[in-house]
Subunit: 503 residues, 2 copies
C-alpha cells in the first residue's frame, strides 16, 4: 500500500485478501514459466491439474462474499481520485469479471481451451482447418456466453477486450485499426512496387550461440535490466513473466546465421521485464501493484525493441560491444546496418513480420475476431476470409491454412481480444517515445552516449511507478499530454521507410 | 484412487479436496526447488510471502469442516484393511495435526523459524552461540506448545517425531539409537586406535566439472532414474523434490579433485527420486499417493548411495563408463577402489561423514533434542553437551560452535525430530537390501551385470507402489518379513569394516 493515510481495518483486510490473490497469481507465473523452460515432459498432466487448482482458488477468493463486503466498505470511505479509490476500482474490475461468470462456465472454458490447443496442433500439422473448426465453434460459443454474463449490453467483443485491456472497446479501436489499414496498406504496396530492396548482408553471417548469449545479456543489462532481480533462459516461444519486481524472467531463442531474432527478441522481452521490475514495490500484492494493461505492457517491449534497438544512436553505442562478441562478423558501421533493421517485406507469418507490416497482421486478426463475435462471420468461412484479407492488406496469399489462419495459438486457447493489444502497444510506444524525446532532448544522442538509463528513468516516472493506479488510456494522457492516437506511430514509420528506401 | 470398488459421493469429494491439497503441496515443492536453484536473489522477500500464503491455504483446506465431515462419512463406510480405510487414516493423520494447532500458533512458528534461520546464520558466521540461543529458546517453546496441542499425553518429543515419521515414538527409537551407540562407538574407536589407514588415492585426481556431470547423469539413468520425468540441476545444498511421479527433480554439487561427493550425492538424491517416480500414479493427489515417511524416503537414498554405489558389483559395472568419462583418472580396478569407499574416519561435520560414523552424528542430535524436549537440558548448556557427546562417541571435540552445535540448519528452522529419520532410513535400507538379496540372489553379480533394474523392480513392488497405504513400520514388516531392527545394518558395517581394514 503506497497511501500516506493510515489504513483502516477494512483496508488492511483488503490487502490481506489481495495479497493471497497476488501470491496465487505469482505462483501461476512460476508454474507457467517452468512449464515452458525446465519442466520434464512427463510432468505435463500433473501441471495441468495444478494450474487448474490454482485458477480455481483465485476464482474462489475473488468471488468470496467477504471480499465484496470489504470492497463495499472501502468504496464508501475512499475519496475520489485517492489511491484507495484506485485500489477499490482495480479490485472491483477483477471481482466483477469473476463473480458474473458461473464456476461451471469457467471450467467449461478452461476445458474447451485445453481441448482447443490439442485440436489446433493436430489441425496445424495436417494443414486441415476442419480438424480445428468444431473446437473453435465451441470456444466461441462459450466465450459469447461469458460475454453475455459479463457485458453491460454492449457488443460481446467488448467483454473480451476488457479482459486484456481494461476499458478498451470495439467502438474505440475500430477507427484506430481502420486508420492503420488505410494508411499502411498503400505504403507497404508502394515499397513492394518500387522494386527497391535493402542489403541485409550486414546482419547475416555466423553468430555462435555462446557469443549471442553473452551479447544479449550485455545488452539487456546495458538498457537497465537488473539480473540480480531477473533471469534469461531459452524457450521455444519467448515470453516474460514477473512474479514480483524482484523476480522477473525473460526467455529467448536464437538462430546462428542472423543475430537479429535473438537481439530484438531479448530487447522485446527485456522491455516487458523493465516494466515488471519497475512496478511499485510498496504496492506489491495490492490491486494497483500490477501492470495496467497488456497494451501498455506491449508498449514497453516495442519501445525498447523498435525505437531503441533499431535506432542509429543505440547502434553507435552497441557496435564496439557487438564487435567484441562477434569478431568474425561482417564489418559495418551503424549507418550501414541501419537499413537492414527497417526492411518492409510482406510475409505470411506474424511473428516474423517487420515493424511496419506487423500491424497489418494484427488488423487482419482484429477484423476477423470482431466479425466472429458480431455474428457477421461463420467459423466455416474463416479460412477464406483470412486469405482474402492477407491478399488485400499485404498482397500475398497463404498456400495452406498452417501458414494462414492456423498459425497462431491464441484462438485455440480461447483468447479472443488479445491480438489488438499487440498493436495498441505499438501505438502507445511511438506516442511515449515522442513525448520522452520532447522532454529529454534528442534520444539519438542520449543512446549513442550510452545513456539509456535516462530514457528508463523517464519511463519509471511516467509509466512504471504507477502500476495500475490509472487505466492505460488515462496513463497515456498523463504521460504524453494527449489521448491515444496512431499519429506518432505513422509518422515514425513514414520517416523510417523514407530514410531506408529513399523518397 | 486405486480402489476397484465404485466410489461414493463422499469419496469423490474427498479426492477432490485432497487433490487441491496435493496440488498446493506440489506448488510448494516447485517454489522451494526454484528458490534453491534458479530464483534471482532479489526474489527472496516475495518468495517468503508466497510460501506463507500457500502454507496458510493448505492449513485452511486441511481444517475445513467439510473435509472433517466427508472423512467421518468415509470412515463409517470403509472396511478395515481396505484402500479406503488407508485413505481415511492417512488424511485424518494430516488433518489431526492441523486442526489441533491454532492458526496463530502456526503463524508464530513460521515466523520464529524465519527469524531463527537469520539468527543462526549470524551466529554461525560469528561462531557465537549466544546470538542464536534466544531464537532457539523461542522455537523450543513454540514447538512444546504445538506438541501439547497435538499430543495424546505422551512425551512432547513424540509429537515432533510424528510430523516426519508417522507412528514413531521416543520409546521405540531410544533402544535402537542406544544399540547403535553401544555398538558403533567402540567399533570406530578400534579402527582409529589400530592406526590403519586406507589408500584413497584412486578417488583423487582432477575430475572436470563437465565430465562429472555427464558421468553422474549416465549413472542416474543407469540405475533407472527417468530423465523424461525428472531433472538434475546444481544447488549448494543438494536435495530432491517430487511434484508428482512425472516431475521429480534432483540437485547436486561437485568438487573437482575427488569424484566421490558428486557421485554419491547424486546416487543419494536419485534414490529419493526413484521412490518419487515410483509412487502409484493412479493414487496421485490422494492421501495414499504420497511417501510413507521421511525415514522410508531416506532408506531409498541410502540404499542406492551405500549398498549399491559403494559395492564391488556396481563398480565392476560402472568402471568402463567411469574410464570413458575420466581418461586422465588414476587406473584402478574395482577391488582397488573399494576400500576408499569405506573409510571410517571420525569427523566433526555430519554431511561429510562416512557411512559408519554418520550414524553417531545422528545419535548425538537425537539424544540432545530428546533431552531438550524432556526438559533435561537447557539451551544454554547445549554447546557443552554437544562437544562432550562428540568427545564420547567420536573421540573428537569441535574447536568452535560453527563446527559444532551450529553446523546444521534444522533446529534454526524449528525442525526437531527430523534428524532421527536419517538413521532410521539407514537402518531400513540395510534391512531392505538384505531382504532383496534373499529373494533376488547375489546382488553383487546382478549389479556387475548391469541389472540394477531387478533391484529397482523389487523396490517398486515392495515399497514404492504402496505410496503411504501402510505406515513405514508396517511396510518394513511386509517387505522384509520382520520388524525394523538395526541388525542388518550393524552386520553390514561390521563386514565392511573388516573387509576394508582387515580383521
Amino acid at each position: 500500500m503506497t497511501s500516506g493515510e493510515p489504513a483502516g481495518a477494512d483496508e488492511t483486510r483488503l490487502y490481506e485478501i489481495w495479497g493471497e490473490i497476488a501470491d496465487l497469481e505469482a505462483a501461476t507465473e512460476l508454474l507457467e514459466w517452468d512449464q515452458e523452460t525446465f519442466m520434464p515432459a512427463a510432468g505435463q498432466e500433473g501441471r495441468g491439474k495444478l494450474l487448474g487448482t490454482v485458477a480455481a482458488l483465485i476464482h474462489r477468493r475473488l468471488t468470496s462474499p467477504e471480499l465484496a463486503d470489504v470492497l463495499a466498505r472501502c468504496a464508501e470511505r475512499a475519496r475520489p481520485g485517492s489511491l484507495l479509490a484506485a485500489q477499490v476500482a482495480r479490485a472491483r474490475h477483477a471481482v466483477g469479471r469473476a463473480v458474473r461468470v458461473p464456476e461451471s462456465l469457467s471450467r467449461a472454458i478452461a476445458e474447451a481451451a485445453s481441448a482447443g490447443v490439442v485440436a489446433w496442433k493436430r489441425a496445424r500439422e495436417a494443414a486441415d482447418f476442419e480438424l480445428f473448426a468444431p473446437a473453435l465453434r465451441r470456444l466461441l460459443d462459450l466465450r459469447r456466453q461469458q460475454a453475455a454474463a459479463i457485458g453491460d449490453g454492449g457488443p460481446p467483443y467488448d467483454a473480451m477486450l476488457d479482459g486484456y485491456e481494461p476499458g478498451a472497446t470495439e467502438a474505440q479501436l475500430t477507427p484506430l485499426f481502420d486508420q492503420l489499414r488505410r494508411t499502411l496498406t498503400p505504403r507497404v504496396r508502394a515499397v513492394v512496387e518500387s522494386g527497391k530492396t535493402i542489403d541485409e548482408s550486414p546482419a547475416c553471417g555466423h553468430f555462435p550461440a555462446a557469443a549471442q548469449e553473452a551479447f544479449v545479456r550485455r545488452v539487456a543489462a546495458g538498457i537497465g535490466f537488473r539480473f540480480e532481480a531477473g533471469r534469461l533462459d531459452p524457450a521455444t516461444h519467448p515470453f516474460c513473466v514477473g512474479l514480483n519486481p524482484g523476480d522477473v524472467r525473460l526467455t529467448w531463442r536464437l538462430v546462428e546465421d542472423d543475430f537479429r531474432p535473438a537481439l530484438f527478441g531479448v530487447l522485446h522481452e527485456a522491455g516487458h521485464g523493465l516494466y515488471e521490475q519497475g512496478l511499485p514495490a510498496a504496492s506489491s500484492r495490492t490491486p494497483i501493484g500490477a501492470i495496467a494493461s497488456l497494451g501498455l505492457h506491449e508498449s514497453q517491449s516495442r519501445l525498447w525493441e523498435n525505437h531503441v534497438g533499431r535506432s542509429l544512436g543505440f547502434w553507435r553505442w552497441v557496435l564496439p560491444t557487438f564487435r567484441d562478441h562477434f569478431p568474425a562478423a561482417p564489418r559495418f558501421t551503424a549507418a550501414e546496418l541501419w537499413p537492414a533493421l527497417h526492411t518492409v517485406k510482406p510475409s505470411l507469418i506474424r511473428v516474423d513480420a517487420d515493424e511496419t507490416t506487423y500491424n497489418l497482421h494484427v488488423v487482419v486478426r482484429f477484423e476477423l475476431e470482431r466479425a466472429l463475435f458480431a455474428g457477421e462471420l461463420e467459423v466455416g468461412d474463416l479460412p477464406a476470409a483470412w486469405d482474402d484479407l492477407y491478399q488485400e492488406l499485404l498482397g500475398i496469399r497463404p498456400e495452406n491454412v498452417a501458414d494462414g489462419v492456423l498459425q497462431d495459438i491464441h484462438w485455440s486457447q480461447g483468447m479472443f481480444g488479445y491480438f489488438p493489444t499487440y498493436t495498441l502497444g505499438t501505438v502507445i510506444a511511438a506516442q511515449l517515445i515522442a513525448a520522452a524525446e520532447r522532454q529529454l532532448g534528442h534520444l539519438e544522442e542520449l543512446l549513442a552516449a550510452g545513456e539509456a538509463s535516462q530514457l528508463l528513468g523517464w519511463l519509471r516516472r511516467h509509466v512504471h511507478r504507477h502500476g495500475s493506479r490509472f487505466e492505460a488510456a488515462e496513463l497515456v494522457v498523463r504521460a504524453t499530454g494527449k489521448p491515444l492516437a496512431a499519429d506518432d506511430l505513422l509518422r515514425y514509420l513514414d520517416e523510417t521507410i523514407e530514410r531506408a528506401y529513399g523518397a
